[in-house]
Symmetry: D2
Subunit: 338 residues, 4 copies
């Protein structure tokens, strides 16, 4: 850690800062340059990270050297994590395709939708039982009943299931019914929810908050791992920027950045990144080419009848063509599809 | 609502869209221009808002006319809401000052801090018992014990108390101990939590999400009002932008925008907006001059010893001077302090 | 165009707006709904676009229907533009690779650098003679002398040359020496410069402003085409967002959006999008997979000795490997390299 | 400067970096911690700032300590600059009001508009002769003829004049006719234009780029001062963010930040920050309360007839009321109006 002092810092102020650092059992080194005095602190940066050093008179700025995350870091674990769900590997050589409608729309419907995904070549089925909706007047999902429908869809198709959990009180029941628990973008920093899914033994698909930094995203994953659950899949899904011609901005460049910093698998969501179905395949190709371990897309036999997010939902024909193209791109990258 | 069709839309596609709108008991009017055909829909926009019209072949874009919120809207209630807490009016003629440390730091400490706020001229005391921290390794707050300390601080000083609630399971116990429940920026779209605080009879201070739009912010307030609790105070606290020279960007211009759209009181947080104590007073003046009904600031007798957020925490002397200056500005705006 | 009126609009205000529209020889249609009166205007939207309708009493908002650009629009010209430079086609089936150092570094150096690009498989050579630098104290480029060096590099290698022009006074001399004129990100809305390059008969590579919307980007291209020069290549290069872990945010999703709106070729810059050399290849693959017609990368035999932008500059070995991989991805997309 | 090395850096890589620093006549200090080796460089940071250190094998990141600007810095000149124009002081105790229409609209009109500003209590008149317009098909201004009209307006009213210059070729003629030259937001990094206005002896009003950082903004001012012209007024005008309910985001918090970093006067533009006339007065109050030395607003006798920007233009009555209120706020801040 580096503490930059103000140009007019006094001797007493420097002494006070040095004492403060020593009281934490760390060793400060004071260097006096022409324009600034700086204090370098060697030792465990975590101890001092929590101190409000910038509140001390004479301090201009503080520059940390290490990233704040540990368990998710590729420094702690150099080998990439591979997470297995029903024989499917996420984060291995093969690209994984998750697909399905935004919402569970009924028992018969969810089975039909899962069959569509299976026949199209998808590997995991997605659909929301609990729906976080911007408006209290919008369809809020089937809840626990929807979880039962999802279990039925798995029984019929054999596809593992991922669905979102929004409330710490629902973690148990969701974990009973599905294979992967999704934490949605609006809950990426719902720390109590993160702690709850950190205590179960099922994979968690953690979506990035719509304006979360990469560091915050990895710290949210750290919350889950810190409770014992190491099966976390990171899911970039576009970020919010000044550009509103698409629903979000598809920041494909985040994939190599995250894969450099962390050993966790990275699986991306091109549907929410773009928000319009015509752009979803190109967005999926971009994420895969950037290094993603798979994509999760919204798909529905009749998007215009979808209960939610229809405008960004692709149909079966597009899904089949997209998976076919992803296979070709995967091979160009020395990867493949299962 | 206005539906803009693609330049090459077919007769069949237009008929399909018209049928869809009629099936919702709404009346479409088709206008054919030189470059585009547009369909205007008269009637209840809520019915059609949920339909994924952009998923239909031939549709280029959909433009809504009305704002999606109702109960919070100044169209529904033209008179401004005034919320009373222990004899203090939020949203009336007078400016309200909330102050206190980021965290509850102990029983003795919290009483000392509340006394400092009272003596400095503040009207409401703030301190966090449950702390949402980016890192799982940071101090997470005193929890329920902290609530008891806060109740003690109120008993000693008479100041009403505001504190954050992060978990729907804690709403009951927090409401028992304090006067105002705060929803933090990371939970602005934690919809289950919003519903819970919507069912109690205590004021809620709703902080804006760090990159929530004004519409999303008001829809989150709508969630609370839709459950019956109409005592919501809106709290802008700066937004996340490309500029990182301050912790957030103090968007003072949002105050007149929100006050135009909604009847709810607006009370701002300059501490989180700026992130550095030296800038807090100027930021508070800007929010007040823009029309805010008050400010909430982090204050502590010794900011460098604060358990969290010390770098953006002002001391007693600064708090006194700031309140004095706010009084002068309030009078320049034909307002005052209690 | 749709004019939404305020809920309390008066009869006189409506009449005034209707008169204003009729005075422009356009036809207004007034529809009175339960919550709002709206006025639909049929006819040439350009006439009314310039009017400050929102300044008129009673108007709440104005919603335009058509995009403001014409010559660059894929509606005006459905066939994709292909721009030819020295036998290379930009915007055709083949992917084009532009590479070279950030700056011209001397006569001998620029020839060496162009040879490296040629031997690595690149098609066009880039290097800056005029350098827009954030600091007045940084190296500002070789200027006109640098143009002569670039002409030498072309004579030696046969590679066509692209270089930036920053000043309307330099357009003539730059056009004399090189094959493609680049407009840099900071000059995307330097309208006088756009007009000057619009009057020459050489291709223009127009970089997107770092926070320009897609509409603004296409309007800047429209400036050039409106002066007669139709040979414009659009160059996305990442945008500025809240995320600063990379120099910019690589928004690969903009490629299908622009290719839907415009017939102009799209060639992307992954070097500036990421800002760090290790991320450049993955970023290039993402842009290509998203549909780009090529990439422009900064490359140098010894990046650590580059006069500028060394941190985001790849070396010859990386360039060769990257071009090889791009060839495979291109073929997976039914495209190829020349 | 601090150079953080990668965890697996080799002895040879460290030696190479140390040699590189020594070759620049600077002194490196290597500190080896448990998790990272860091190199602190003492000496003139400018020498090393230009080096692409991050391109060197083994370097993880580079952290600079000093701000890159000098002449504009409050460290170089602790006393605040006061710029005098026709007896008006910008940056002194008094708040300055600049007002006028977006565009010069004709000879008679500009005189009428300047009289309106004078009678309303404004101190400086603004109107654009050269207009940077997003569309090549929009009104582009009266050009040099407009400058003559502006000179007439000054002769009639005695008000000093500010107008925008867009092209380095026009700096001479603009400087002949008006008192203050404005650099528009789109030209904040038009470095050749900055150099030209740096060589004249008239004040320059430098608007902040719509997504320029504070550091970039101050570096653009540094360009002007580095050429000899020290009369620069900094003009924040809102920034571009994800929020589009207003034209830009009024970031009032930037005022105390800039006033801390630089001695130059700060005069803000609430009209462009908000983009809608109803919000302009509150935005002006916020900027003043945050510490601005004045505001520049768009005003016109009949905003709905303005040639451009009518929707954000206030009328005479609003201008008078706004100036009256600003006087009261100024006095609450121990300042005043001339």
């Amino acid at each position: 850690m580096l503490i930059v002092l103000k140009p007019n810092v006094s001797k007493e102020e420097i002494d006070h800062i040095v004492d403060k650092i020593r009281s934490l059992k760390l060793e400060p080194h004071v260097s006096t340059g022409v324009q600034r005095t700086i204090i370098t602190v060697i030792g465990d940066e975590d101890i001092i990270r929590e101190q409000p050093l910038e509140a001390i008179a004479g301090v201009e700025s503080v520059k940390t050297i290490l990233k704040p995350f540990k368990l998710v870091s590729s420094e702690t674990q150099p080998d990439r994590s591979v997470i297995r769900v029903n024989g499917i590997e996420i984060g291995g050589k093969n690209i994984v395709i998750i697909a399905g409608p935004c919402s569970v729309e009924g028992e018969r419907e969810v089975v039909e939708h899962a069959q569509m995904v299976k026949e199209s070549g998808g590997h995991i089925f997605r659909a929301g039982a609990f729906k976080p909706r911007t408006s209290p007047y919008s369809f809020q999902g089937f809840g626990v009943q929807g979880l039962k429908f999802l279990a039925k869809a798995k029984a019929e198709t054999g596809l593992p299931i991922v669905t979102e959990v929004m409330d710490p009180r629902d973690v148990g029941v969701v974990a009973e019914h599905v294979d992967i628990l999704q934490i949605g973008t609006r809950n990426m920093q719902n720390f109590n929810l993160l702690k709850e899914v950190g205590r179960i033994d099922k994979p968690v698909l953690l979506k990035r908050g719509m304006s979360a930094t990469v560091n915050e995203f990895l710290m949210s994953a750290e919350y889950i791992l810190s409770q014992g659950n190491r099966k976390v899949v990171l899911c970039p899904r576009g970020i919010r920027t000044f550009e509103d011609i698409t629903r979000n901005t598809l920041d494909a460049g985040v994939v190599p950045v995250i894969k450099g910093l962390s050993h966790l698998p990275v699986l991306c969501d091109p549907s929410h990144a773009m928000g319009l179905k015509d752009y979803v395949p190109a967005a999926a190709y971009a994420f895969i080419a950037a290094g993603a371990d798979g994509v999760m897309v919204e798909a529905h036999p009749r998007p215009e009848d979808a209960h939610s997010d229809g405008q960004q939902t692709i149909d079966a024909k597009t899904l089949v063509a997209m998976i076919d193209r992803i296979r070709k791109i995967a091979r160009a990258l020395d990867r493949d599809l299962p």
